[in-house]
Amino acid sequence: MLFRRIYQFLLVYFAGISGLLLVKLLVGLSDYVIPGIPLIFATAGETAKGYFFDVLNTLQVTVLGQVISIILAFTVGIAGRKSSWIGSFIKMIAYNIQAYPIVALAPIIFILLGDGFIPRLLIASMICYFPLLLSVLGVMSSPVKDIEHFYIITGKMRWQLEVKIRAFENLSKLATVISGSATLAMAGAIVAEFIAADAGIGYSIRIALYQSDLAKILVALFMIGIVISIYQGLLESASERIQKAWAISSGN
């Protein structure tokens, strides 16, 4: 799984680069618009190591942000699963906040929270949590009648149990979304750094963009890709193992 992820990423990445180089060649563009191979290598030599550590820095925010958004998404999703007024209200807040692009909210966040690690984390979580929320809501609001019936009719149903039943019945769906949300959290962390931080790969990308340095951006994208592939691969393996442990392979 892990090696396949990396290998596939390399394939995609080099396909992309080749495409760009082809455009460069056909249109006859300078290194400023699309960097050539020597320049990319030279840039990689200079920046690869630094960017790698930047990505690791970002990864910390990613992991923490993902954990927070998972917690948040489950909390809101569970609270919002009922079709009651409160449920619909919570859903509504969650939806509305999402529609505001982070770029518009950022100044408010900065006014209220100052700057530094916290807003970076907050923005990463905000970007990651909404898609998670959607899935959690979907799962949490569809009853599993044939299992829940007993607990309802005997008055034993608690919200915890309801949540557990629905989560368990949709384990593979939730696992897909949770491990998929890693990339969202990463994207969120990078955007947050891009807007706000003075560390992380997003910050480095901002600087490269200021300098119109596409070669640096390509190196950064490579580092992001390789790290996210590894993280994603690990998450997927872990989620598979957890699913197996909790469920023993289900179905006949």
């Binding site: 249109v27 563009l29 300078s30 290194d31 400023y32 618009v33 960097p35 320049l39 950022a106 100044p107 900065f110 006014i111 700057d115 807007i195 706000a196 931080a197 003075d198 910050y203 901002r206 600087i207 490269a208 963009l209 200021y210 300098q211 119109s212 340095d213």
Partner: protein
């Protein structure tokens, strides 16, 4: 020649591009027999790239962009230099004593945009003033001004003729006055925006380039003339709906100061050479590009 030309600005439509707006609005291009469409700029726009890709014919780029592009083999030529004084300056409240010597920067909290021009310029200023980096508090600037507004940062980079005006105005409304720190006052002449085109264009269509340059220069000159102030403001107002008339007027005045009044549009060759040198020193570029060879006669 009815060939449609495009002209990509560097920034949004406002008083800082008054001459460009004026040229189109008052038909300077048409009169010169050109059909030119001007397009607004923005953070994601890069006129040099567009010129190379054939998406635009003329454009506005900052000097550092031009130098960087030249280093990487792009072939762009500077036609004329819009601002004689770089609009990129630093704003500070008048509760700070006026900065007349660079040594006064010591101990201050200063905003710089890492990777941006202001980093390069501030580094040069600090070097010039002999101030080690550890003696100032550098604050990383993002796109909003809150840290300056809340007084967390004392000296903040702005474009003198756009945000600078707005901020000054806003603070004045609250009874606070501001000053600007202009690097040129301390001998740092880092060139800002210039009008550019491709070398190829100059070689293949020198007369178009000529006509364009003449028309645009004339438009800028007229737009900056105090006599034409009202009609310039009207042209701007038609394009820039987000600033009120008072602000626009102040911005126009500020722009006029930056473009200079005598040697209008002229290329300050020494400043260009200094810019290249600064960039070399700051390792923004690795090898000299001989910028003087790329400045149009």
């Amino acid at each position: 020649d009815a060939r449609e030309l495009t002209y990509r600005l560097k920034w949004l439509f406002n008083a800082s591009v008054a001459g460009d707006i004026y040229a189109e609005d008052k038909g300077y291009f048409t009169k010169a027999g050109l059909q030119v469409k001007i397009k607004e700029g923005g953070p994601g726009k890069d006129a040099i790239k567009e010129i190379e890709l054939g998406q635009t014919d003329f454009g506005v780029a900052s000097a550092d962009q031009v130098i960087r592009a030249l280093e990487k083999g792009a072939e762009v030529v500077v036609l004329f230099q819009i601002f004689q004084i770089n609009p990129l300056q630093w704003i500070y409240r008048d509760t700070l004593p006026q900065i007349t010597a660079l040594s006064q920067l010591k101990g201050k909290s200063i905003g710089i945009t890492f990777g941006g021009n202001d980093e390069t310029i501030m580094n040069t200023l600090l070097a010039k003033g002999g101030i080690p980096k550890k003696d100032v508090k550098i604050y990383s600037v993002r796109f909003d001004f809150t840290p300056f507004l809340t007084k967390k940062v004392q000296i903040w980079p702005v474009y003198r003729n756009s945000q600078g005006v707005i901020l000054k105005n806003r603070l004045q409304a609250e009874g606070e006055n501001v000053r600007f720190l202009n690097p040129a006052d301390f001998g740092v002449n880092f060139v800002a925006n210039s009008v550019i085109t491709s070398k190829k264009m100059i070689e293949t269509d020198p007369d178009i380039v000529d006509k364009f340059q003449t028309a645009l220069l004339a438009a800028w000159r007229d737009a900056m003339a105090p006599a034409n102030q009202e009609s310039t403001l009207a042209s701007i107002a038609a394009r820039d709906k987000d600033n009120n008339a008072a602000i626009t007027k102040l911005q126009l005045l500020a722009t006029r100061e930056l473009t200079g009044t005598q040697n209008f549009g002229s290329i300050d060759k020494d400043a260009w050479i200094q810019t290249e040198q600064i960039m070399l020193q700051e390792q923004q570029i690795k090898r000299p590009v001989n910028i003087q060879d790329w400045l149009h006669k």
